[in-house]
Amino acid sequence: MDARPSLGEFEQVVLLAILRLGENAYGVSISAEISACTSREPAPGALYTTLDRLEDKGLVSSRFGDPTPQRGGRAKRYFLLNSKGLAAITRAQRSYQRLLEGCELPGLNYA
């Protein structure tokens, strides 16, 4: 039995958004990145529960920034992908790639 954490589709989307944003990954920027890349705005509830779940699985870590007046004096919670998270997303994307190999999709070429 594989003890490595399995990732759902939305979890992969969130992990990739965190990876793309690097040091500036927090709720608003992650949501904006997902919207920009997938043309789908994630529901806040789904996003925050997924972020909590990813942290519980040990795939991301979070730290609190300084409070700012634009946010009603509330601090940002920054997320960072750790080595376990990076390994998990790499493994999940490899699986997708293996599935896509040999498939003919319009506009995409996976030889």
Binding site: V28, T49, G73, A75, R77
Partner: protein, 192 residues
């Protein structure tokens, strides 16, 4: 500004205070472009998602805690019914007429029930630290299923409107349980 504190209080019921504060901060930042309705919809949807996650994240434990609450509820209801029966019996024995419509009797019958409900909320909070309201939700769902089954067993079935009435009165009865769980959560957070 007061409404932001209220939003933070709502989220603080289902997640840690620092996470609640940062989530509210994110929604305040987003609401600058999208408006107040988006902010409150976001708060309520996030709270509902976190509440349900508390049940789905550890269903066995949360259901177990809810069943403990339900068992306490059944035992306490039987004890209270027995006690009320004894009081009525003694009153009749000594030739007193029990004025059921008097305010004092209503208080005497309802206050113990209210206290037991608050106590059940405290028990749920004690046995499910960090998931107090999720345990409350599971207790409410199981309690409603239990009530409907008991009504079907005792009366042989009810119409849809009567079932809706049972469900709504059950929801009303859960409010003191919820208050007890919130109280327990705040005490737990203060102690940690």
């Amino acid at each position: 500004m007061r409404s932001i504190h209220f939003a933070e209080w709502i989220l603080g019921l289902v997640t840690s205070p620092d996470r609640a504060a940062s989530t509210v901060g994110d929604l305040v930042e987003g609401a600058a472009d999208r408006g107040v309705v988006w902010f409150w919809t976001g708060i309520l949807r996030t709270a509902a998602s976190l509440l349900w996650c508390g049940v789905a994240g550890n269903p066995v434990r949360v259901t177990g805690v809810a069943l403990i609450g339900l068992a306490v509820d059944v035992v306490a209801s039987l004890l209270l019914a027995g006690l009320t029966g004894v009081v009525f019996f003694l009153a009749a024995w000594y030739g007193h007429r029990v004025p059921l419509n008097s305010v004092w009797w209503v208080i005497a019958l309802d206050v113990p029930e209210l206290l037991v409900s608050v106590l059940i909320g405290r028990i749920l909070a004690r046995w499910a630290p960090g998931r107090e309201l999720s345990a409350c939700l599971a207790y409410g769902i199981l309690g409603s299923i239990f009530s409907i089954i008991m009504i079907f067993v005792s009366t042989g079935g009810l119409g849809p409107s009567a079932l809706l009435w049972v469900f709504l009165s059950d929801v009303t009865k859960r409010i003191p349980v919820l208050a007890g769980a919130v109280w327990g959560r705040h005490r737990g957070l203060a102690a940690r």
